[in-house]
């Protein structure tokens, strides 16, 4: 039973560039959430995708966008990168339904913006 996978593992970009991160959910899951985790901090919710639509969004600017594909995998796109976007980006998958349930996390993508 495959868990949540993310790619790439590490990424280095320069200010102003754009980046795409990818996530495949745990087998049987249909919902993907994205979080940003700054060094030494707890993760912050970016948004959640279900049925290929953004269902809920945290306090992140429009430079952060996403997509979900028919196979439930998801992408996180960040435009016009800032130094402050350097962080660990975590993807989590779960089953649909308000308040359900447990989110299972991937290993994360470490993004460094120079």
């Amino acid at each position: 039973d495959a868990g949540v996978t993310q790619s790439p593992t590490h990424l280095i970009k320069t200010r102003g560039q754009q980046v795409t991160l990818r996530c495949s959910p745990k087998s049987g899951h249909d919902t993907v959430s994205w979080y940003q985790q700054a060094l030494g901090q707890g993760p912050q919710f970016i948004f959640q995708y279900y049925e290929e639509e953004e269902r809920q969004r945290g306090n992140f600017p429009d430079r952060f966008s996403g997509h979900q594909f028919p196979n439930y995998s998801s992408e996180l796109n960040v435009n016009a990168l800032l130094l402050g976007d350097s962080a660990l980006y975590l993807c989590a998958s779960s089953l649909a339904g308000p308040g359900t349930d447990t989110q299972y996390f991937g290993p994360g993508t470490r993004l460094t913006v120079l």
Binding site: S33, G42, Q56, G108
Partner: protein, 115 residues
């Protein structure tokens, strides 16, 4: 908006001993879920234990148990018979019952288990 507070930035314990990590939260929701996640240096966030607010019984998973005090909005994690592999950052997290997956995390507690 919900807030989650972990007041212990760092904790340490000897192998085989018991340690308790604290977590308090603030919410106006009546239905919600609480979680403890563990993040070792490898950075993979791993679920430790889950509690449903409407259940009075405290959750238990092997060596891990919680003390859930709903009125006090407290949700502490007890680790018994600590092992070296328990060394990690531990996060308390809150999920409203009406939310579509927006977990709110605390700041984390770094736990070090010494041999």
């Amino acid at each position: 908006a919900q807030t989650v507070t972990q007041s212990q930035p760092e904790m340490s314990v000897q192998e085989a001993e018991t340690v308790t990590l604290s977590c308090t939260y603030d919410t106006s929701e009546s239905n919600y879920y609480l979680f403890w996640y563990k993040q070792p240096p490898s950075r993979q966030m791993i679920l430790v234990i889950r509690q449903e607010a409407y259940k009075q019984q405290n959750a238990t998973e092997n060596r891990f148990s919680v003390n859930f005090q709903k009125a006090a909005k407290s949700f502490s994690l007890k680790i018994s018979d600590s092992q070296l592999g328990d060394t990690a950052m531990y996060f308390c997290a809150f999920l409203p019952g009406t939310s579509y997956g927006k977990l709110t995390f605390g700041q984390g507690t770094i736990l070090t288990v010494h041999p």
